[in-house]
Structures are given as C-alpha cells and as structure tokens.
Symmetry: C2
Subunit: 364 residues, 2 copies
C-alpha cells in the first residue's frame, strides 16, 4: 500500500513490530502538518504495517484533528470519564502484540496506558528510525530554517548593539528575547543561554540576575528562534572592552575547529569523521583539557535531533542533512568559548545557513 | 531522616516502592531550584525511601549540577560512550526492584534504560503523588505567579489596542507575542491561541495566516507569559465592530458560568463541586450542546497540572491551590467564547489573580 504512511509501515516491518505509534511532537507534525499541545491528555495515532491506521483523540481536540483528514477510525475520550475505555476500544479494534514508539517523545503515562490496554505488549524504542525520517530536509524545510536563522541573526545584531558593561546576564537575556520576537520569532527554539565570565564555562548555563558583566569578560550567547515549525541554533562568544591574550588564543582555536568542521563535510563522510576533524584541532591545542562536548547535533523541527556529530557515530552524511557545528572550550571557574553555525550538507560539500561574522568581536 | 527529600521518601513508602525517580521538569525544579534543558541526554535523580540519593548526569551538565549541592553519588556519562554503563553503575550502587516515576514527564527512552539496568524493575506511575507536592503554592510562589499574570494582562491590553479589522490571526498572534516579551515574559507558558470566527470554536486552535478578521467576528485570545518559573494562563474573547444578539447571549452565559466558579470556591469543596457549579450554568442555557471542555486545571510551574477541575474529581480544594476558571461554549463552524481567570483558593474563599475586565468588549 502506497500512502502517506508508507515510511512508517516500512519501519514497522523493519523493526518486526505490528505498528508504529506516534504522539504529538516533531514526527507527528512532519507527517500531518498539524501541531497539538503536549499536555496531560493522550493523543496517539497507530500506523500498522498493513491496513488502516487508527487514533485515540481527546474529545476537545476532535475539531483540530479533523484538519488531518485522517483515514482511520478515531476513538475519542472526555476528561470526565478518562481515557482507559478509549484505549480498550482501540485495542479491540486493532489487536497488537508489539509496537514501535518514539522513545524521546512519548511519555511513560502513555506507555503505561498502552501496556494496560494491550496486555503483554512489547514496546520497542523506534526513536532512531522514526526520527530518522526527518534526517533529510526538503528544499521547503531548508527555506523555513533559513528564515528562522535570519531572524535570529538580526536579533543577535540588535542585542549586541545594546549590550553594556554593568548589565546583568539576565538583563542581556531579556534584550535578546525581546529582539528575537521583534524580528519575528514565533517561539524560542530553546531557553536561551546568556552567560559571562565563569558562567560561560558551563555549556548549558542559566543567566544570572546577580552578575553584572565586566570589562574583560567573555559573553556567550546561545539561542535561536523558531518559526514555521523550524529551529535556529546559533552561538557567538564576544568579549567586553578587551580580550586577554589567552582569551584570543582560545577563541582562535575554537574558530579553527569550527572551520575544520566545514572543511570535513561532504556527502559520504560520517558523523564520526566530522567530529574527529573538529575535536582533533582542539586536542592538538594547549587547551585540550577544556573539551567538554561533542561537535554538534542535527537541527530541524527539534533543536536536538539526529545526526549527532560525535566520534563513534557511523551515520553517513547525505545532502539535505542539517547539523550544528559548535565546538567549544570551557575552563571551569574562568571562561568558555563556543562558536556555533548551522550547516546544510549539499551535493558537493556543505553550506553554512548562518552568516553572522565570526571574527573575534570586542564590544566597547 | 528529615531532609529536603522527606516528601519524596514518604511517597516512596506510600506507594510501596524502593525509590522515587525525578527527571528535569517542574517537580525537579521545585525541589532543586535549578532547571535543566530537556533533551536527548538522560539526567535522573533517585531518591530512596531510606538512605542517600544518587544521580545519573550527562558529563557536560556536571558544572550546572554542582549548583544543586547534591548529597549523593553522581554517575556521569559522555556523549561519545553513551549512558548504558552509567545506568549499570548506578544500578549496582542502588539496587532497586521498584521505582515511582513522573508519568507525565519521564519519556520512554529513560524508562527503557532503567528497565534494562534494573532487570525486572517494577515502574509505578507516581505522577499524581509527585506532582501533588506542587498543589499548595507558597506565598512566594503566588507572588511569582502574580507577576507572570500582571505582565500578561499588560500584554493583552497592549495587543487589543493594536487589533484592527483586516489583520490575520497570525498577525494578531505576533502582536500578542511581542507584547508579552516587551512586558517582561521570559517564555510563553504555552503556544498562544489566537482564533477568530469559526476557528474560535476549536478549543486548541492555531492562528491562521490566511484568515483576516472581519466585523462581527469573535476573537479569542488564550495565552500566558512565564516568569520566574511560573505560568499565567488567561483567556478573553472580544468582538470586532459589533456582536450579534446571539453572541452577546452566549458571552453572558459563559460569564455567568465563570462567576459561578468563583462563588463555588472555598476550602473544603471538591474539584467536582466547582466544575458542577460552572457546567450547570452552561447546561441550563440554550447552548448546552456547545459544551466541550471541563472548567479548568491547576496552574503553577506547569500550565496544566493538578487539580483538574472536573466532575468526578474528589480532590478537596485547599487554601494555596491555584486553578484556571475557563468555561467556554463552542459552536462548530460558527464561533466560540471562553473566559479564563486564574484563581487562588484562600482561607475564606478565593481570590482572582487575574484582573483584566470581563465586560463584553467590542473593539471598534
């Protein structure tokens, strides 16, 4: 059967399970072009290897679910009576002994509801295969990402224009947030990271309301807007008033690693190869003890998705993949530097979707 | 043992399990006053009924994890080698035969990692008990919510000032978003709903880029800012240029239901009682066939949390609970009306944390 579920049916066959279960999230939105709030109300679509799909839908979402033009049976449930009966009816309608789920998306309460409705159900984590369908971006998807990235870069320029010594990290974060939405972001792709001085050495730092930035500080901004369902993810590290000789040398090292990532990327190389090229630059420097992260991750509907750019990952890169090239060096208690671009693999190499300057920048 | 884990230890004992597992999310943040990004990297804290806690932490989060002043053993893992070994080491350190998890928060891949590391592990959904610790808000938490609500109300006023006939729903959504962040929101509490005319009859509608609002339309805005970790959740429905007699009658019915919710609320009544009081007003009206939702839900660190205000829920209301009073009437294909306030249960009744006017509003 060739229909919009062909890829998912193939995954079910490949994994040797009766069906694939999808819940609201990036894979669901890619398939149905319709997003649903993720909350306490289960909504599940079951796609069997053969035959019609079926769904379990909260009654109050039925009108939104109509927009999917769903072909199969729909079992709805109401808050007042709960969802157990609807799961049981769905189980009678579609007997299953095994199912593949999105391990990174589905939450345990739905897992429990399913193993209750289908006793003895074998639940296989099909995350890699299901999310793998998002590995290759279509031209439309790349265009959507470029729009998210461009607005994020305009927001960064707007922010850096307003940064002043004496502002707190939290104040700078507010400026960045407002700039993102002024430039047209629909959402944050993730909670932005605005971190100066020693805080910049925490890869996932939180902005502090009680630290005012000072002359000589590194200031790391890692952020992105989401628009049209797609994410930007950009990091730049700048310095306030001046940068020490050490800071300049570290910055130069990270930049060389970032450039090595571009140089290593073309169809046919592996994620391992790229990470190896990038990390080798850092390892060959005097700052090897400051390495704390892999090179990057895929980017698309999710801010972290496949392919993960790290040693040991044999994933072969193909034209249409997008990944973040974000090497960094982090000296605990002192400062960190990260430079992050979003990279599209092309037929003959790669192209940076980000274009914000990467020369060492000192804000005065 | 009396320590910061006493409540969680008690839950483990009450549920007859060896430990409670927490992952990043609202319960984690309440306990540790530190948030972590939710992504593909597992981070789990195990709190046993007796004895020291232990944790599994991505290596690159260790410096952020330090801020928790965690008392127990920490097992870290790196992207390059994966987390299976760290889970196995944690399992040797803390043998478990059963564990309670946050069913609405923990994702299946962590569930699978745990049942692999502790073969035969019985995983109990402790969502109700663990999230139940957030039922009663402290005065500081209420103050944080009031700040989120006040900025959201300022954003609504700012938005309504700018709404004009001919704008698309999407344009109005952008105005609302920008207003929220201008007024100091740190994040959206949830993707805002901006829906006019027939779209307003979908309780969880998405703004359309291809529908321009017209004279006579209902315009429903359901949104909230998040600040300091707490959410606002407000809905107002206004009309453009004029409101039909039917629209006015429907609006009046929904408003009376909303007011009935306030009148019914004091410590000692149940969530059932409140929903019954609210829905009864709608049921007694000529529009009973337009009822599609329960009255509301708890509000706090999560935009949807306990107590769920619905018939059948025997939860006894207590001073310190906060819930959304959001009756609505939805005529498919025509229009919907919802009015939503955030309500604090007090010692002698209740108090609305929202103060935005609820008189029928016609934008001209």
């Amino acid at each position: 059967m060739t229909d919009r579920y062909s890829e998912h049916r193939q995954i079910a066959r490949d994994l040797g399970v009766d069906a694939v279960a999808l819940v609201p999230g990036p894979n669901f939105t890619r398939l149905f072009h319709q997003a649903f709030h993720v909350n306490e109300r289960p909504l599940v679509v079951l796609i069997p290897a053969e035959g019609m799909p079926a769904a379990l839908v909260p009654n109050l979402e039925l009108r939104s679910f109509d927009l999917l033009n769903f072909e199969g049976e729909v079992f709805d449930w109401r808050d007042q009576t709960g969802y157990a009966d609807a799961f049981a009816a769905l189980a009678r309608h579609m007997p299953l002994s095994s199912v593949a789920v999105e391990g990174q998306v589905m939450r345990v309460f739905i897992h429990h509801a399913m193993t209750t409705a289908w006793p003895g159900l074998r639940v296989v984590d099909g995350e890699r295969q299901i999310a793998g369908l998002r590995l290759l971006k279509t031209p439309d998807e790349v265009a959507a990402m470029e729009e998210a990235i461009r607005l994020s870069e305009r927001a960064l320029a707007r922010t850096l224009d307003q940064v002043r010594i004496g502002q707190t990290e939290k104040e700078i974060e507010q400026i960045l947030t407002l700039s993102l939405f002024t430039e047209g972001a629909e959402e944050h792709a993730f909670s932005p990271i605005v971190a100066a001085a020693d805080n910049s050495a925490r890869p996932h730092a939180h902005a502090r309301a009680d630290y005012a930035v000072r002359a000589g500080d590194a200031l790391l901004l890692d952020f992105g807007g989401r628009k049209g369902g797609f994410c930007a993810d950009i990091t730049r590290t700048v310095f306030l008033d001046h940068a020490s000789d050490e800071a300049q040398a570290v910055y130069d090292t990270v930049l060389r690693a970032n450039l090595a990532g571009f140089a290593a990327t073309r169809p046919g190389v592996t994620a391992h190869d790229i990470d190896d090229a990038v990390i080798s630059v850092l390892e060959a420097s005097p700052y090897a003890d400051r390495i704390r992260t892999k090179t990057g991750h895929g980017l698309g509907r999710d801010v972290h998705e496949a392919p993960y750019i790290m040693r040991g990952n044999a994933q072969v890169m193909q034209a249409g993949m997008v990944w973040t090239n974000e090497p960094g060096l982090y000296q605990i208690g002192a400062f960190g530097v990260r430079i992050e671009d979003d990279v599209l693999v092309t037929e003959d190499g790669c192209r940076s979707l980000t274009s914000f300057p990467k020369d060492l920048t000192i804000l005065r």
